[in-house]
Symmetry: C2
Subunit: 270 residues, 2 copies
DNA sequence: CCCGATAGTTCCATTATTCAGAACTCAATT
DNA sequence: AATTGAGTTCTGAATAATGGAACTATCGGG
């Protein structure tokens, strides 16, 4: 992740239709605390939550009671352990991940580089799985992380699978941050999407982080209930442009295999 | 509410005091879906949730709207991706984990075996971190998992740090399952806790899984806001009883170091 | 020791959400 | 066409959430 995100909130505030009743208000609080740089005091939350003190106090109490938040010894609030428990279950059983797993491993074997599976959620990519070479991995380091859509191979691959109206909606809802000198703008992104649709491959040429390149391909279900991508990522000195081209086909192949698996695994009723 | 009240309620979190209003009801649903073997249909959830149809329908709608649940193409409900996002943040920033990380690595280097950091939540142990040797790890495989307290080294170590009243409360609230022929009973567990308090080390001698042993030590903060443990786990043929004894001291040492770190990192207000 | 801040908690009449159950739609079966 | 199963929508009534103010710490000076 980049060093300091600052306070840039390209959250989905944009199409903020109506709240989800009580739950919506509580989730806003949960987001505030989990997005913070560290534990927050009551007053800190009060300042950004825009709720009366009494109300906020009760809401935090409920979240804490349920284990979604935790109160540290000094009274500050931090994300709670229940989140880990819920997530580990949802991850372990995720259908798409299970279907993709063997293909990700195969791709890792072939290339020797890190392989990712990501899925589109709102205007972000969430990494569902990651297969690395051999070094002991910082495990949550990537999985579950929400990353920008316009400067990752998986993100661009996923976008290319969307119909134009959804694509437009997403592009216009995102604020484009300038990570490296190669980071795309809305215009160049649109042009690239057209390329990806033609060729079937998305590339990240040091657009998010200097020295990191990747080649990706879209993975999606027919009804677009799943829209994501697979990618092979590595350092620029190993992933030369020739190498990227060379791996474009196997990456597309892995994507195809995963999609076949999805049709079998999810197609009929069950 | 209806005639069919007597249902299986032996879920671990059962005996909590008061419900948390609306949130509590929604969390029950979320638990039902995340604990299921696979995606559930509306009717499946209806059967176990004990809510009127209309009510359940709205509740699931809200959870889905927030991304905590997901509706598959065939209408079944599965845990949603938002959970991964929330969890990855909460994990990455977890204070205890960050403090413990270097000590876990050191212990892994020393022993060459898998090292765990776990924390007590209710009557379960949740794994906060895991450092393995060299093979590419199935990452969520363990982290975030809730495991029984009476047959894991970390669980027993954590218990030994509790005062008797809390210990009793937990032991009496748990139903002891018989995993292997070495799995403890409430009585033998109490006796072992006494040993652990004396020696400072907990052992798992194939009590949870045949062929797996481990040596652990408690890690806790002074005010017991954090109660957990570190452990070294491995196959019985490598972790002979002599080896377990040999590593008992370094494991205690790592635990001590983590606790020192906690006092510095969490003690003053900041 | 008291003053004035700052931080967090509790109370309670008002109001908005949620609730429950029935009526309704839609699709497959017979 | 009639029946069953699965899911959705609608309603007044019940309940839980709200918000403002009053209350209690806790702290740092003077």
């Amino acid at each position: 992740m980049s060093a300091t995100d600052g306070d840039i909130m390209d959250k989905n505030e944009a199409a903020d239709k109506r709240e989800t009743g009580t739950l919506g208000k509580l989730m806003v609080l949960l987001d505030i605390v989990t997005h913070a740089d560290g534990p927050m005091r009551f007053t800190d939350i009060l300042a950004v939550a825009g709720q009366p003190r009494g109300t906020l106090h009760r809401q935090l109490g409920h979240l804490t009671e349920e284990g979604l938040l935790e109160v540290l010894a000094d009274g500050r609030y931090a994300p709670g352990l229940r989140l880990l428990d819920l997530a580990s279950r949802s991850w372990a059983r995720n259908e798409f991940r299970l279907i993709a797993e063997p293909h990700l491993n195969a791709l890792q074997q072939l290339t020797g580089e890190t392989v990712h599976l990501g899925v589109l959620r709102g205007a972000s990519v969430i990494y569902l799985d990651k297969v690395e070479g051999s070094q002991p991995v910082r495990m949550y380091s990537q999985i579950g992380n929400a990353s920008p859509i316009y400067c990752t191979g998986v993100g661009k691959a996923a976008l290319s699978a969307l119909p134009d109206d959804r694509l437009d909606a997403i592009i216009s809802s995102v604020s484009f941050q300038h990570f490296t000198e190669n980071t795309l703008t809305p215009e160049t992104l649109r042009r690239e999407i057209a390329d990806i649709r033609r060729s079937g491959n998305a590339f990240d040429r040091e657009e998010h982080e200097v020295g990191i390149r990747c080649v990706a391909a879209p993975v999606f279900s027919e009804d677009l209930s799943f829209v994501g991508g697979v990618s092979v990522t590595g350092p620029a000195y190993r992933l030369t442009f020739e190498r990227l081209e060379e791996w474009a086909l196997p990456v597309r192949g892995a994507a195809q295999s995963i999609m076949s698996g999805m049709r079998i695994g999810l197609g009929p009723r069950r």
